[in-house]
């Protein structure tokens, strides 16, 4: 439908990108506080409750904030990877559900297997399913020229309803009471990373994946091609003689696999079973995570933890300060808008100077 639009946020050095992120957060905090005041709430109490909920104790930080950051880091990496190639994958949410569904299914089927086999199988299943969920929009873009923005979002709804159908129907737990699956066996679960906390190995895996993606994007031949395609598909195919379709295919399916892994890791590390509303919209929050990180994989670790803290703090905010947790959505929107606005203003100013 449309050509891949230009970069979401202009490319820049790391220092600039950190400055942009800090400025965006300050702007968000300012406007957020103002909106809370208009709504009749006390922004100070909100902030205090939020910080207490997210960082108030070692347990809160590791078992709540860091645990919640894992799916955000993974989906954030999925979005950043796709956006760098100019692929508008807004479908991380559906890919996450597909990954979670496959992970649960494999975990339940492989109950007889030892952990050395079952854990990797569960994770691989989530990659494959996530990539498969991205395949429909990929083929529609590459074969039919249908833009991926709408198709990836549509696939989100299909994925969510498919998961809902499965937990009410074929995969419902044995007693048939609750709309959820049976729990996967011990052998399919990710072990704890820090003894005495709920932080699981998925966190370490996300950090390793982020580092690997950073190296691939920056130093590998494929990373160069991907960035070239993201900068301009036409220039890449004309000047660089790059097989654009191949690069787009890998970017799309790779992004889907990473988002699927977010679902698999959540199943294998936290919930052990699939149920409706597994994700509170991580696939969409991921866009804020990735943009605030300047689409930089290592930056995604930091912004993922930040948004993990925001979601961890929102619960405390609702409990202690009586402020609805739905405000988190407003904060996420403000972060995205602040990044866009500051980036645009920055570029306009620099154009005027030159």
């Amino acid at each position: 439908m449309t050509e891949a639009p230009s970069q979401a946020v202009g490319r820049m050095r790391v220092a600039e990108s950190v400055a942009l992120a800090v400025a965006a957060l300050v702007l968000t905090a300012g406007i957020g506080a103002l909106l809370l005041l208009v709504g009749g709430y006390d922004p100070g109490a909100a902030a205090a409750a939020m910080v207490r909920g997210a960082f108030g104790s070692w347990t809160a930080f590791t078992s709540i904030t860091l645990v919640r950051s894992v799916p955000l880091i993974l989906t954030g990496l999925a979005v950043a990877f796709a956006f760098r190639a100019g692929v508008w994958n807004i479908g991380a949410e559906g890919q996450l559900y597909a990954g979670a569904l496959a992970a649960v299914w494999v975990g339940l089927q492989g109950a007889a297997l030892p952990a050395v086999l079952l854990v990797p199988l569960v994770l691989i299943a989530s990659w494959v399913a996530g990539a498969f969920w991205a395949l429909v929009p990929t083929l529609m873009r590459l074969r039919l020229g249908v833009g991926e923005v709408i198709t990836t979002i549509l696939m989100n709804f299909v994925g969510i309803y498919l998961a809902a159908y499965m937990v009410h129907g074929p995969l419902q737990e044995r007693r048939g009471v609750f709309p959820q699956t049976d729990a996967i066996p011990e052998a399919g679960r990710l072990p704890a990373l820090l003894p005495g906390t709920s932080l699981h190995w998925g966190f370490a895996l996300s950090v390793v994946l982020a580092a690997a993606l950073a190296v691939v994007l920056r130093y590998s031949r494929f990373g160069f091609r991907l960035r070239a395609v993201g900068a301009s598909t036409e220039a890449a195919s004309v000047a660089g003689r790059i097989d654009v379709r191949r690069v787009l295919l890998v970017a799309f399916l790779g992004s889907g696999a990473i988002a699927g892994m977010a679902g698999g890791v959540q199943i294998s590390g936290v919930t052990f079973a699939l149920y409706e509303d597994l994700s509170p919209g991580w696939g969409y929050t991921a866009i804020a995570v990735a943009l605030l990180a300047g689409l930089n994989p290592v930056g995604v670790i930091v912004t993922g933890i930040l948004f993990g803290a925001l979601q961890a703090g929102a619960g405390a905010m609702q409990r202690d300060a009586g402020i609805p947790a739905a405000w988190v959505g407003v904060v996420e929107a403000l972060v995205i808008l602040a990044v866009l606005v500051i980036d645009r203003v920055r570029r306009r100013v620099s154009e005027e100077h030159s």
Binding site: M1, T2, L144, I153, M155, A326, I336, L337, L340, R344
Partner: protein, 308 residues
């Protein structure tokens, strides 16, 4: 299936198609001048909550629709300032506006109605029977015994078609969507046209949301919109950016959403999640099968800045 059941199915199809039609007609105008507003979902949910609050405050459903339209316009204003005024990426801006719209309405809803507001009952938009037309066989009551918002959609489709293809303003608007640089050279205020078209889209999306809250259900639950804004964008593509076809496409999708009543009447049992997924699958199929022959406005989704 007897005739009474068929009539019920058609009625449901129109009732479910009308909000899609309103939102998609507004989006048609903004896409024709190069603005794709994914934030439509935010405008619809804001329109639903605004409509509910307005109807409660004034104890009048029509005034509720007005407030809903205004709420939808406010959401679109945020989008227009960032995406059109500053020239930021439309897709990402729209996603942010949807996230913010859902969050903000969720927060206001909870603060106003508490965690469970499902029993909340609102003044509803009453059906208006058009004498004569409503007596047509089969489709009469389905089409012409509906809320006023339905008639607004019927009227807007030909009016907007005339505006787009038969007036100089419509020509200017389409020029902005095909070749903004050339339009500017010809003296068209590109940013102003895009700004106004986006606001118009938000206004209609707000009316669509108010219709959902006040004509459909007489209640306003969180997640009432369930991705309708995105289906509306699919409807625009299916209707090939032509208001008359867009209305038809919206009614077709209304029929798809109403299909469960049809199958229930036939006595078939199918899991309801399949029905919920059906409109999205149909939109995908429609995009895959139909778009090949249609062409989007050339400058759609491309940020534009004046070179002067």
């Amino acid at each position: 299936m007897n005739q009474a059941e068929l009539v019920l199915f058609l009625e449901a199809a129109v009732r479910l198609g009308v909000p899609l039609a309103l939102a998609a007609l507004g989006e048609t105008i903004s896409e024709r001048c190069g603005v794709i507003n994914i934030g439509l979902e935010g405008s619809i949910i804001a329109g639903a909550l605004g409509g509910a609050l307005g109807a409660l405050a004034f104890e009048n459903a029509l005034l509720g629709v007005g407030i809903g339209a205004f709420a939808g316009l406010l959401c679109a204003l945020v989008f227009a300032v960032v995406a059109v005024g500053l020239g930021a990426d439309q897709i990402i801006t729209g996603t942010a506006v949807t996230l913010g719209g859902l969050g903000m309405t969720g927060a206001i809803y909870r603060a106003r109605f508490g965690a469970t507001g499902t029993e909340l009952s609102l003044p509803t938009l009453t059906s208006v029977r058009i004498p004569g037309l409503a007596d047509l066989p089969l489709v009469g009551t389905a089409l012409f015994d509906q809320a006023v918002t339905a008639y607004l959609a019927y009227l807007l489709a030909p009016l907007l078609w005339y505006f787009l293809f038969r007036t100089p303003y419509g020509l200017e608007l389409r020029a902005v969507g095909e070749a903004p640089d050339a339009a500017e050279a010809a003296g068209v205020q590109v940013v102003r046209v895009r700004f106004l078209a986006t606001l118009f889209g938000g206004l209609l999306a707000g009316v669509a949301g108010a219709h959902l809250a006040l004509a459909h259900t007489g209640t306003c639950a969180e997640h009432l919109t369930a991705g309708r804004g995105l289906i509306a964008i699919g409807v625009v593509v299916l209707g090939r950016w032509n208001p008359a076809l867009v209305l038809a496409a919206a009614l077709f999708f209304g029929a798809a959403s109403a299909f469960q009543f049809f199958l229930q009447a036939l006595g078939l049992e199918v899991a309801y999640q399949i029905f919920l997924a059906l409109p999205y699958l149909l939109t995908l199929a429609a995009l895959a099968g139909w778009v090949g022959r249609a062409r989007a406005p050339a400058a759609l989704a491309l940020p534009w800045e004046s070179k002067r």
